[in-house]
Amino acid sequence: MQKTKQRLLTGNKAIAEAIRLEMERDPNVLVMGEDVGIYGGIFGATEGLFQQFGPERVMDTPISETAFIGAAIGAAAEGMRPIVELMFVDFFGVCMDQIYNHMAKIPYMSGGRVKLPMVLMTAVGGGYSDAAQHSQTLYATFAHLPGMKVVAPSTPYDLKGMMISAIRDDNPVVFMFHKTLQGLGWMDQLDASVGHVPEEAYTVPIGKAKVVREGTDITIVGIQMTTHHALEAAKKLEQHGIQAEVIDLRSLVPLDRETILQSIKKTHRLLVVDEDYLSYGMTAEIAAIAAEDGLYDLEAPVKRLAVPDVPIPYSRPLEQFVLPNADKIFHEAMKLVNE
């Protein structure tokens, strides 16, 4: 058997490498945000860029999200390709006007005449006791509002490839990375936060989900951490003779309906897992797609597993109770296949 040489990178280094390659290729690419300079981004997404490109292209900003995200919009309209970091997605509250009323709507309101080729990069996710204002994913909050592409890659390979796609896209792209999948030394060390990443520039398409495990008995749809939890659950399900197919959504906007519908044609059962709030969210959207276009393929009702509509609590047992994990997925899946 031939061994492929693996070049292992953490999630944060994969993102930083993508940005570096695009900055080398295109002088219009620049990075702005809080602590993106010498610090390299609180979650490491801009590690090493300041040292290579200097303060002219990797700009630390004041704590003024409205002004610097708005400035990215203004600069993008002038043909720059800014990558602007909102440190935690939870902070969108102080600057959402610029994001959803301007970044997302100007191209449409201008009849397509104004292009905003920018990336709004932001950290999402909990599981490390950072409590209600620093632990949300808010996938659906952004995906609900038209005019932004929204991506949330789960592996170092996809983080790099989708970041390059996002930078090259002429539309505004919200690029969410999961803190726990950055592979940072000061958080849980997860195998999933390290992976093979080719050295050269490559793209992973926006709007394509990925079947990360094939199976015949149940489809489990996840994104970022819940994809990894689903994969873990699938191993346990296999021990019980159940073959789970796991789909990593990767993109929320555009959403790859086809991959989901194809999978339930095969498995006839659907479990959707989300680290975001349950109601009005991604799980409901996927369930609606199954109900509208795949109902006759289903042999059991769709099941959903997500944060049960409370803010993320601080204390470890409380937080672990509300977040999805592999055990919960395993139990839901067992119930579903036995229905």
């Binding site: 708005g70 301007h102 191209p107 449409y108 201008s110 397509g112 038209p146």
Partner: protein
Amino acid sequence: MVISVDHLTWMYETMYKIRYYEDKMAEAYAEGKNPVFNIGAGPVPGEMHLATGQEPAAVGICVHLKKEDTVTSPHRPHHHAIAKGVDLNRMTAEIFGKVTGLGKGKGGHMHLFDPDVKFSCGGIVGAGIPHALGAALAAKKKGTDWVAVAFIGEGAANQGAFHESLNMAALWNLPLIVVIENNQYGISVPKSASTSVPSNDIRAVAYGMKGYYVKDNDPIEMYDVSKEAVERARKGEGPSIIEIETYRYLGHFQGDPELYRDKNEVTLLREKDPIIRMRQFLITEYGIEEQRLIELENKAKQEVESAYQFARESDDPNPEDALNDLFV
């Protein structure tokens, strides 16, 4: 300061054009809304914020701008758009919701975008300032002498976006000029009830930038201070704030009952109308013949008339066009 006749006549003609445009818009807007006012009825539906009386702010600075300079504007944008040279036909068609409009009918009067002359506006108070900040940043990154001008009302000077943007503009020494049109009211609330300082130019001190104040809606004074502010920005000498005391002859929007002010107030304001004053000034101080001014007025009227005709004769968009242009 001696001002070139070309500049003066351009300013006069443009003020006249703006006034004529807004007067016609008030008429067009009223169509289908009588005897019962229904905001959604008539050839021009939705909210309508007219700039009648606020012409000096727009022309006094735009006379110093070139095509490559950026202008952002708020919900009351027509005077800025006209002064920046936005395509008048397509702008009017947009306000009439036609397919030939700047945004193919998707934006309307508060959302006009003409990238050919780098003009944009929007309906959220203060939100255009960061966009101008970003344009100023891009101008500097590209090594040009281009500047960015953000027009705002005095109410927007109390928005976070204003303070955040000015701090960054000064911090990064960007070619940004924020023009505050103090028309005395934020909808109904007088400035004295909303703003802790007598005039916003003094807030410039807080950011380490230059502040200017223009009294009495004076286009000539506006010309002078804008010239200095624009030249400083082009030379890399940093951002400025200009506050101009201006007049809002009409309500916040058309249909505003204006219960918050004395009816006499506007009558008195109109007695010192800046267009009439400017006309007199050109004749007496610069010896420009009245006939020349009449020619400019007729030219302006003609241009406006043909823009309205273009708009009215243009087609509506196809309803399903609503689904296009979300992504490029």
